[in-house]
Amino acid sequence: MKWEVVIGLETHAQLSTVSKIFSGASTAFGAEPNTQACGVDIALPGVLPVLNTGAVERAIRFGLAVGAKINSPSIFARKNYFYPDLPKGYQISQYELPIVEGGTITIQVGDTEKTVRLTRAHLEEDAGKSLHEDFHGRTGIDLNRAGTPLLEIVSEPDMRSAEEAVAYARALHTLVRWIDVCDGNMQEGSFRCDANVSVRPAGSEKLGTRREIKNLNSFRFLQQAIEYEVRWQIGELEDGRAIQQATVLFDPDTGETRMMRTKEDAHDYRYFPDPDLLPLEVTAERIAVVRSVMPELPQAMKSRFVDEYKLPDYDAALLTASKETASYFEETTRITFDAAKVLLGIAGKEPVLSGVAKLAANWLIGEIASRLNSGGIELADSPIKPGQLAKLLARILDQTLSSKMAREVFDAMWAGEGDADAIIAAKGLKQISDSGEIEKIVDQVLAANTQQVADFRAGKEKAFNSLVGQVMKASRGKANPQQVNDILRRRLAG
């Protein structure tokens, strides 16, 4: 039988506020246990929650970015359960009326674009942490994380493969960082996914029974967990066993999922509206203010890159993978174009924007990306800033540098040896583009290699390449290869 995989994701994005969602305590990561938990966070008798407007503002920004409806009012509800790292004995969340409803995320898998619908996104507080090590059989509680603001983003079951789920998670990850609502740090747990996975016979309308894989904090784990889970579920069904609704955990060491609890022992959370918090009203004015400071979104920017710079889809997608990459690209292109205008202007020529953009894209996607990658460096920490790269690219455009030379200069720049022009001067790397000078070298080479000249004239094309090599060698690599080519052909034809 052919099976269809159905996946929906619930993603917890930690909102990038300075203080917690219902208290003034800091949300900074990594402090000594319980040093960032105030009376509200540890749930002293008598304390009350006060909503952080920064968290609301970020939720609205997210809602607008995905084209969702912003509900007004939305309602905070209490989700009641006992656990030592949940100080109040309930989590404040949103249940029946979330702040964000609907919306979509566009994903790209291979060459196909797909729209994933969002069900909702709601505000809630994180719990603390139970520490089971170092306490000699007892459990320690760290409440620093308790009350950290989260936006739980719930998708419709619109994904049909692990690849699509990962593409969705990546697109969401890009978006939340792009609009500055979440730092996206997955190691620190700022962005984590639960995946609801089920399978059904291909063509069937009815959803299969789902199992929820909890707390996946890397794209790799997300992919592995779903792939394992799908294989396991298909195996069960093909062996004639029914799937039981359950919550499971992924073990990265074994690559397997294992049962945490079944539906039977699911909690009754006894949700009810939190009487300590008034219904959250969001006025049209407030939404307008948030909208007015919204940056251009990745999808829109990608389309613009294709239109404005005539870049291939592939390049545009890579360049809009993060806001940092996109702005690095645009800044480099702009400065290079301005510099090239001046430099080419001397010769009465003009740069072409699309050519400049493609050059910038190639260097960013190529040299810069691979250096960052191998060094494990973030783009923000790149030793070469857009202004510096632009100077190098301008020297390619004005033919001072061959691309081979440019790479050499780039290496020196990366090593911190100064800016492009200084390195070109210091290394004497200036390309020889003076045709008189090149003609002189060509004539010398032709005079010294009569046999090859004869071979070429007898129809041996190979001899031409050898002559080019000789000229380049004689110029110590500095002759403009294009000009060498042209002059040689002219001379040999003559």
């Binding site: 009376g39 008798p45 009350l48 006060v50 909503l51 009641n80 030592p84 006894r270 009487p275 008034l278």
Partner: protein
């Protein structure tokens, strides 16, 4: 000296007739004597009180005294006060020393008032007789075999017995007004949101409201002037300009329209109480008020609605008492679940457990719509009844409680009988309206009767005016129980 009202003490301190330290010492001596036998206080800390009194005297000497600087009061043990044991009358918090002040305590401290101690109450404010306290019952100063009412029973008995000129209380379903009535003092529950709930240990958040308890309407206004005010730490605290709640005290009552809800005078009202309330209404007529017959048709639903909503909120509010971070933890347990079960089983008393169970039940999957949602709808109907009623009258009057003080143990075996003790007060909380009780007579056994005055939202000044004018014309509020005299 301790027979004086808040106003008189304020005047005496201002005139230099006594010092705050003398005053505090005088009250503490009485608290340590009579207070002990009545069970009014859970915690007394003379050293702290006298230090505050000393500071108040210094402040007065420096010329910075406000109207209540140096005047002592008692706080219900539901208010967190920094450095004070704050127990909510529960074993669960019998070891909890608060690291912070409630907003109300902060405001009283800032006014220079002196905390005499923390008063006894029903455990977590759940009760109408002050018998559910882990620290033992409070006795009514008018007759030690009877209850003082609850849950602010310790505050009420302390004020009635002249152990404190005033006290703070909280009222979720009548917990200020009913004990005020049963002990012959005055108590005011303000409009919901007027006084911050920050630092007031939550029972039912949407109903809880703190208010003053004292011997005269004027004193209530003086203390409310200190207690009320916006607090950004309580999201349900209202942002309103400050007002002087005593600004209208002198206004004549001519033309005041008093609504008498027929439902307040039906079956279940004791004849003695009815008689005293009727006489009070007659007095108001003499003062120029007119009387309007009104109806609150959904009032009979208020007790069942309340006993769905209040326990629902309480079951969740009391979840934080889990033995993990503070409060009572069982000495021995086998695992986490056992720790929870034992700590909570040992830490909470029977009435608190009953309400947690009811609340958990009504919020459970499958019952939520039938109980909680339905009760919320009825709550809106009850509130609407008042809106209708206030189209026809300025204030509503009636009995505060259907009976006078009952005997200790009389209703403790029958929770429903106990709950009916608040039948006239609960609707006011459900609607979020201000309500107060003032003394208006005695029953055949010499026990005080309370007159309830219910106002429209934010109409505290008018209610205090009505009460004050009545107190100018009558002397019920000056009567003291034998134990409190001298």
């Amino acid at each position: 000296m301790s027979n004086a009202t808040l106003k008189e003490l304020s005047d005496r301190l201002a005139a230099g007739a006594c010092s705050s330290v003398e005053l505090a010492q005088d009250y503490i001596n009485k608290i340590n004597g009579l207070g002990k036998s009545l069970g009014c206080f859970i915690t007394v800390d003379a050293e702290r009180s006298l230090a505050q009194a000393k500071a108040a005297d210094a402040r007065r000497a420096a010329g910075n005294a406000g109207p209540l600087t140096g005047v002592p009061l008692a706080h219900k043990d539901i208010f967190c006060a920094e450095g004070w044991l704050t127990t909510c009358a529960s074993r669960m918090l019998s070891n909890f020393v608060s690291p912070y002040d409630a907003h109300v305590v902060e405001l009283c401290n800032a006014a220079g008032m002196v905390t005499l101690g923390k008063t006894n109450m029903d455990e977590f404010a759940m009760g109408s007789s002050n018998e559910t306290s882990f620290f033992g019952p409070v006795r009514n100063p008018w007759n030690p075999d009877t209850v003082p009412g609850g849950s602010s029973g310790g505050s009420a008995a302390a004020v009635a017995a002249r152990l404190a000129p005033a006290a703070t209380g909280t009222d979720t379903g009548g917990s200020i007004r009913q004990p005020a009535a049963l002990t012959g003092i005055c108590g005011l529950k303000p409009t919901y949101g007027l006084v911050s709930r920050y630092g007031m240990i939550a029972f039912a958040s949407s109903l809880d409201q703190a208010g003053p308890m004292a011997r005269t309407a004027e004193d209530l206004g003086l203390l409310l002037n200190v207690m009320a005010g916006h607090d950004p730490r309580d999201s349900t605290s209202l942002e309103r300009p400050a007002e002087d709640y005593n600004r209208s005290l002198a206004q004549p009552l001519k033309g005041l329209r008093i609504g008498l809800p027929r439902e307040f005078f039906a079956d279940g009202l004791s004849p003695d109480v009815r008689c005293a309330v009727d006489e009070a209404v007659a007095e108001y007529r003499k003062l120029g008020a007119t009387v309007v017959d009104i109806s609150l048709p959904n009032m009979e639903l208020s007790v069942p609605v309340y006993y769905v909503l209040a326990p629902a909120e309480a079951s969740s509010n009391l979840s934080r008492f889990d033995g993990v971070r503070y409060g009572h933890r069982a000495a021995e347990y086998t695992d986490l679940m056992d720790m929870y079960k034992r700590s909570r089983a040992e830490g909470f008393g029977a009435e608190v457990k009953r309400r947690i169970l009811i609340g958990t039940y009504v919020l459970s999957h499958g019952y939520y719509d039938a109980y909680y949602i339905r009760a919320q709808k009825l709550r809106r109907l009850i509130a609407r009844d008042f809106v209708e009623a206030f189209r026809q009258c300025d204030v509503i009057m009636g009995p505060t409680s259907p009976t006078t003080a009952f005997r200790l143990g009389e209703k403790s075996a029958d929770p429903v009988q106990m709950y009916l003790s608040d039948i006239y007060t609960i609707a006011v909380n459900l609607a979020g309206l201000p309500g107060m009780s003032i003394p208006c007579g005695f029953d055949g056994g010499g026990l005080p009767v309370g007159l309830q005055i219910i106002g429209n939202y934010f109409d505290e000044a008018r209610m205090l005016n009505a009460a004050h004018q009545y107190q100018l014309a009558t002397d019920w509020h000056t009567k003291a129980p034998a134990v409190g005299q001298g």
